[in-house]
Amino acid sequence: MESSQDFTSFLIGRPVIVKLNSGIDYRGILACLDGYMNIALEQTEEYVNGQLMNKYGDTFIRGNN
C-alpha cells in the first residue's frame, strides 16, 4: 500500500500540475517538496482560466496555498 510520501517521491522530476486553493494552476517539473507542501518547481507556467503568465526558471510555492 503506497503512502502519500511514496507518491510524492514518485512525482519528483516529473511534470506536475499544482492546483492552489485560489484555483490557479501551476504547471512545471517538480524539483522537491517538504512536509508543509512547500514546493519547488522548474519551468513553471501559471494558468488562470487560460494561460496567463509564463514563469521561467525556478519558483517556490508556499504550502498553505
Binding site: I12, G13, L20, S22, Y26, A31, C32, L33, D34, N38, I39, A40, E42, Q43, T44, K55, Y56, G57, D58, T59, F60, I61, R62, N64, N65
Partner: protein, 114 residues
C-alpha cells in the same frame, strides 16, 4: 530564455533552499490580495517572512461599475526602500530579472499612489 541548471544535483534538498539561493538577489514575490513585489531579498525565515530592499509593489484592483457591471482593471504601484513582508501572505517567489535601470535614491518614506 536563459539556461537553467537543473535543480536536482545542485544541492537543493528542500524548497526553502530555493529561497536561500535568492538571497541578495532580486526576486519577484506573488502575494495574496492580487499583489506583487519586486525587490532585493535581504533576509527570510521559515515562515517566508522576508525583508526586501528597493522594492516596488504592484496592486491589481478590479473596479466593478454597479450599473453597467463593467470591470475596470487598475494597477497601483508603490515603492519602498525597505519592506518587511509577513510570510502568511506569500503565494510564490522566484528570481527576477532586472526590470528597470538601477533605482535612484528617494526620500526616506514610502511613496503611495493610493
Amino acid at each position: 530564455m536563459d539556461d537553467h541548471a537543473p535543480l536536482e544535483g545542485s544541492g537543493i534538498e528542500e524548497p526553502l533552499d530555493l529561497v536561500r539561493l535568492s538571497l541578495d538577489e532580486r526576486i519577484y514575490v506573488k502575494l495574496r490580495g492580487d499583489r506583487e513585489l519586486r525587490g532585493k531579498l535581504h533576509a527570510y525565515d521559515g515562515h517566508l517572512n522576508m525583508v526586501l530592499g528597493d522594492v516596488e509593489e504592484t496592486i491589481t484592483v478590479v473596479d466593478v461599475n454597479e450599473e453597467t457591471s463593467e470591470e475596470v482593471i487598475r494597477i497601483v504601484k508603490r515603492n519602498c526602500e525597505m519592506l518587511f513582508v509577513r510570510g502568511d501572505g506569500v503565494i510564490l517567489s522566484q528570481e527576477s530579472e532586472w526590470k528597470n535601470a538601477p533605482r535612484q535614491r528617494i526620500n526616506h518614506s514610502c511613496i503611495k499612489n493610493i
